[in-house]
Symmetry: C2
Subunit: 337 residues, 2 copies
C-alpha cells in the first residue's frame, strides 16, 4: 500500500504540517528536519499527490535529466538520486541518455519536449559552451559536470582539480613515489581537471611529472582501466600507485593486477573517483573520491525549480562537497562506511 503523509510524519518523528512544508519546499525548514523527512520519504517510497500540487503551480510535473550514458554506474546512481529527490518535491523525472552524441544533445537544447517538461538538468559531453549558450529555447536548464559551461546558466560540479589533487596526495602520504594516472584526455576534455590536480600534488611533493606514467584511454570503462594497467605493469619500472580518473577504470586496474599476481595495495595502491557502489564490495574494496550525490541532486533541483517558478536572479556556480573514502586498495583496511 502506498505511504501517506502521516506515515512519513510518524517515521520522521515530526508533525504532518512539517512534512507538508518539506514536500512543498517551504523556506522555513531547518536542514536537519528536511534531512529527516527526506530520509523517511525515501524509506517509505512516499509520493506526494503530484497532479493536485502541480495544477496549483501551473506546472506539467515533469523534469528531464539528460546525461551521456545510463549504463555508467555514476550517472545511473545520480539519476536514481535525482529521481527520488524530485519525487519528494512533486516531480517525475524522465531520463535522457544522449550517448554523448551531438545530435541527441542538440535535441535536449532545442527543448523538443518542452510542452510536457518544466525544466531540464543537463550534463553535456559533446557540445561546446558556445553551442549551449546559443540555444534557441527558454526551457529552464541547470548544467552539471566539469565541461566548460557557458555563463547564464546555473551550474553544479565537483571541484575536480582539488579532488584529483587530494587523491594523489593520499597515495603520496602512503609513501608511494611512482604514482601513475589513468585517464589522460584523448578526444574529450572531461579529464583535464583531474590531471591538473594530479600534477599539482606531484609538484607540491617535489616529484617530476613522468609522461610514461600517465596513460590515455579511449573511454572511461572497466576495460580501459584494465588495458592501461597492463601497459603500466609492463614498464621496466612499474608504478607503486595509480590514480584512476574514475571508479570503473580502478575496477579494471585492480583486476589486471590480480591476474598478473601483483598485490593491491602492497605492490600497487589504487584509488578511483566517483564513489560508485561497486567499489565498496570489490575485492579488495576500492578507495575513491565520493561526491555527495544527495547534495548534488537536491541543489540542482532547487535551482531548477526556482527558475521554473520565475527566479531571474544571476546564475549560480555551485561546488559539490566530496569526501575521500580510504579503503583496502590503498590502506589495506576496509572503511567503516
Amino acid at each position: 500500500m502506498a505511504a501517506r503523509l502521516r506515515d512519513v510524519a510518524e517515521r520522521a518523528g515530526v508533525s504532518v504540517k512539517t512534512v507538508s512544508n518539506v514536500v512543498n519546499n517551504h523556506p522555513h525548514v531547518t536542514e536537519a528536519t528536511r534531512a529527516k523527512v527526506s530520509a523517511a520519504i525515501e524509506e517509505l517510497r512516499y509520493r506526494p499527490n503530484l497532479s493536485a500540487r502541480n495544477l496549483k503551480h501551473g506546472r506539467a510535473g515533469f523534469l528531464a535529466l539528460a546525461v551521456p550514458a545510463m549504463d555508467s554506474p555514476y550517472f545511473a546512481e545520480l539519476a536514481a538520486k535525482v529521481t527520488s529527490e524530485a519525487a519528494a518535491m512533486g516531480f517525475i523525472v524522465l531520463l535522457d541518455a544522449t550517448g554523448g552524441d551531438e545530435h541527441a544533445e542538440r535535441v535536449v537544447l532545442e527543448g523538443m519536449r518542452s510542452h510536457v517538461i518544466d525544466g531540464v538538468i543537463f550534463s553535456p559531453l559533446a557540445l561546446s559552451a558556445d553551442e549551449i549558450a546559443g540555444r534557441d529555447d527558454d526551457l529552464p536548464m541547470v548544467l552539471l559536470g566539469e565541461r566548460p559551461t557557458p555563463t547564464g546558466y546555473d551550474h553544479i560540479a565537483v571541484d575536480s582539480v582539488a579532488a584529483g589533487r587530494a587523491a594523489t596526495e593520499h597515495l603520496l602520504a602512503l609513501g608511494r613515489r611512482r604514482v601513475a594516472a589513468i585517464g589522460r584526455e584523448t578526444v574529450r576534455g572531461t579529464a583535464s581537471e583531474r590531471l591538473r590536480g594530479y600534477r599539482q600534488a606531484l609538484r607540491a611533493a617535489d616529484l617530476a611529472y613522468d609522461p610514461e606514467l600517465v596513460v590515455g584511454v579511449p573511454h572511461f570503462e572497466r576495460g580501459d582501466g584494465y588495458a592501461a594497467m597492463q601497459q603500466l605493469l609492463a614498464l621496466p619500472s612499474p608504478p607503486d600507485a595509480v590514480f584512476c580518473f574514475n571508479d570503473l577504470m580502478a575496477v579494471g586496474a585492480v583486476r589486471a593486477c590480480a591476474e598478473a599476481g601483483v598485490r593491491v595495495p602492497e605492490d600497487v595502491a589504487v584509488i578511483g573517483f566517483d564513489g560508485i557502489a561497486e567499489t565498496r564490495y570489490a575485492n579488495p574494496s576500492i578507495s575513491t573520491i565520493s561526491p555527495d550525490l544527495t547534495h548534488l541532486a537536491r541543489r540542482a533541483l532547487e535551482m531548477l525549480v526556482s527558475r521554473i517558478d520565475g527566479d531571474t536572479s544571476p546564475s549560480q556556480e555551485v561546488a559539490v562537497p566530496w569526501t575521500l573514502v580510504a579503503r583496502e586498495s590503498t590502506t589495506g583496511r576496509a572503511a567503516q562506511t
Copy 2:
C-alpha cells in the same frame, strides 16, 4: 564530428543503400547484414536524421522505457542497449525509473505522456496483471520481465525457471551437494521462477530441499547478498555452493566470503544471474546467467514499432535467449568472454 550514412556503410563493408534499408527497418535484410550494420552504427554512434524520417511516418519519434530502477546495473545496461538499438531505428528513448512504485507505474499506464510518445516498453513491479489489463489508454505497449502479465500485450522475458535450473545444475555438476539459494521471494514475486528452477534441479539430482539453505532478502542488492551469505556461513553446516538470484547479490556474497576467509570457489562456489558487466571484472570473476540483451532490446522494439505502425495481430510471447557464463567463482578459471 557526427558519423554519416556513408561512414557506416564503409565501416560495415556494405552499400549506403543497405545501411538505409537497415535503418528504415526494411524487411528484406539478412540477419547477418543487419548485425554488421548495427555494430557499425553503434561503434560510430551514428544517429539517423530522426525528424525527417518520423515526419514521413507520422510519428513523434520518442519511445519510453519504464523500469523499476535505473541504478540497478541490469536495467541500466538494458536501457543503454534499448537506447542504441532504438537510435538505429530512428527513435529517441526517454527512460522512466518508477522505483517499483505503484503511483509512478500508474502514470506509465495512463499514458500521461502519450501526446509526445509513440509507445512504451514497460517492466512492471508493483502493479498486478489485472491492473495493467484494465488500463484506460491505447498507447502501444510491450511488457518486459517475469511478473505475471495480462494477455493482450506483447511480452518478452527470460525463461527464469529453465535458467535457474541450469544455474543450479552447473553447481551440482561441480560435485557440490549443499547448494544454497539467495533471493527467496519476500514481498514481491520476481524470484519465484528462479526458485522453481532451483528446486527442479535439486529434485532431478535426488537432493532434498533444505529450507535452511534458502535465504529471503528484502531487496536484490549487494548488501542483501552480503548479509545472506554471512547468515549461510554461520550455519553449523554451511553450503558448498550458492545460487544468487541476481548478480548484485552474488557480488555481495563473494565479498562476505572474502572477509570471512572462505575461498571462492574452493570452499563455496557462487553463481549469479543477469550477466552484468561488473561480474566480469570482479575478483574472482563471477559466473552468471547472461540474457542476450541485444536480442531482448531488438525484439521488444520491433514488436513495439510494429504495433505503432498499426499491427493488430494477436499478442506475442517471446523468450529471450541466455547463456551460462562459467567464470572463476565456480570453475576457478576465467571465461574467454
